[in-house]
Symmetry: C2
Subunit: 394 residues, 2 copies
Amino acid sequence: MTMMWNVPVKDIDAAIAPLRPDADSDDRLESFAVAAWSFLVEPGDRVAGALVRRFGAGEALSRVVARPAASSLADDELSAADVAEALARWEPRLETPALFRSLTSAATLGIRLVRDSDEFWPDGLIDLGDNGPRVLWVRGQVESLPQTSSSVAIVGARASTGYGEHVAMDFAAGFVSRGYAVVSGGAYGIDGMAHRAALACGGTTIAVMAGGLDNLYPSGHEELLKRIMNTGAVVSEVPPGGAPTRWRFLQRNRLIAAMAGGTVVIEAGYRSGSLNTATHARDLDRPLGVVPGPITSGQSAGCHRLLRTNPAAELVTSVADMVDLMSGSVSAEEFASRDSPETIRVLDALSSTPRELAAVAARSGLSEAQALVVLTALESEGRADQTGERWSRT
Amino acid sequence: MTMMWNVPVKDIDAAIAPLRPDADSDDRLESFAVAAWSFLVEPGDRVAGALVRRFGAGEALSRVVARPAASSLADDELSAADVAEALARWEPRLETPALFRSLTSAATLGIRLVRDSDEFWPDGLIDLGDNGPRVLWVRGQVESLPQTSSSVAIVGARASTGYGEHVAMDFAAGFVSRGYAVVSGGAYGIDGMAHRAALACGGTTIAVMAGGLDNLYPSGHEELLKRIMNTGAVVSEVPPGGAPTRWRFLQRNRLIAAMAGGTVVIEAGYRSGSLNTATHARDLDRPLGVVPGPITSGQSAGCHRLLRTNPAAELVTSVADMVDLMSGSVSAEEFASRDSPETIRVLDALSSTPRELAAVAARSGLSEAQALVVLTALESEGRADQTGERWSRT
């Protein structure tokens, strides 16, 4: 092969080599195709996912850029109508110059392309199926990309309160001390606090962006995101040059939920985007922990709404709760008082002043024989004392 | 009949008349027997309940004071062993002088005896079956005794926080404004705040005591409890002279839960007695609302524990939530965004600067035809503007 999508292979090699320094030429070609797909389609494009799965990224791209008849790509999974609609929506982006600007920008910024066949691919993304990305654009440490078994997502309101920030910090520190990587969205408020606390504790943290990594968003977190790259990673499924649109934020939230072994929502307004992350966690059967707060706080209203209406949402009050939830070891607690009714009543009837058995029986509403059984047991537990014929509480 | 339990009927008439001014002589005799039973047994005595149901209070009392063979009182429901054990536990209290001291004390304090056959008997207590009381000792307005359809219990920690007190006040006021009577336990903290707020709003409130009404408990609430009596009632199933033991507190909690149409727990420590009231509410199939709070507050730890471990506990954040719960009208909320993915993406692609259709299509990752459909719909909703060939966001 000397060309792909009318691009000479040597140009492809030159564009991809900085993004995948260890790649051989086959891998560079396929990686170019994967990058092209991430440029052509919006996150979550099921038809693109199905075609790439069926043909491989390179072959699927070659077929699509040839503007085929929709019926030639249809099969049992994809109807001709689905394919026709997809070809039509990809058409406006079927041009190579903007893609090469993305790749050049990526190389300049030291961005790596990580593919779903790579060692460090986050295993949780596999659960997204055809809706999931085949490639991540990564700034920072590729080997820090999270595995679900040892990562947790902490998300929440941008307009966080002091309470929420305190809890986010506390949770992030607790997860780090238990060896978890902290995944979040890099936003102001809860996200930022979770990242900062993870870094402060020497932990690994991953920020998942909605737009291209040439534009670190929000700009007020540029410094924080760069610190994250030193030991963790800032990642996106959108190529450099891509704006952080509302759609991409919603899709970014599904990446956060899928990457992590569980998601904790710390604070969320009644219509917070964090509720969207929570919905993804539920759809993926990932444990979803929700921290309650004062009902007088609007920034906990979304958390309470989740707890009321989402059967998958579990109330968590500590890192231990969340770890239990992720390990599937949560069991119903024992509420029952350990003392029997008779024991409670005999204890009620005792005081530090010794009383005769008859008085204890009358006060506890038990026969003398019944009271004596309980008293003897209490004495053996060191909870009652017998002095002569009288009984007292210890 | 001239005697009951070796007491001349004229003495019975004299003792009961002040407690039931409208009673005829048959009623006075039976009421004396009911009062005697409440004196003989601890709250929740199932055997006593069954015998009173089988024979009537007077006949059951007459049989028991005759020290019968246990087998003579056994039947399909009560084994001879159950009866023998019960007779043994009642034996230490089988004496009339202390009972008469109770009745005299009750008359002095203006206490009324309200029986389960009376008009104002709280209908919810019927659900307690044989474990429930047949009589209430009442100080205040007998006609204020609550019906489940128009009453709610507000309970919580004695060591309440400012947050909990604020919420208790807010809830009590909200319930009163909707016509509900507020039932609680008269304790410091949440209970007291709920009673005070109900009174301040001109509502009816009922305090249920664990001990006899001659000893208003806690003493620091004597003034409050007396104010409650002016329009509401202070009630107990324990006769005057009975101490507020731990057992009676636990049993008192079941009365609160049974009387009210639903129970709200506002704040509760991890081992709070309010959790016991909540358990009773659940056992009685009464709606159980629980208010969350900061996870940093120990006084909300019991609430969070309930929400985590008690499937009947529902998180409530407002009076409206609780009213919905009690009316059985809670339905799952609609979380989904009302905009389709395509609409979100087209809105993302628009700005206040008009753009050509091709640009909108490329930015949104849709075909021009698809983008146009969405743009037309948005225009009709007043969310997009067309100027010549260009589109903008309104």
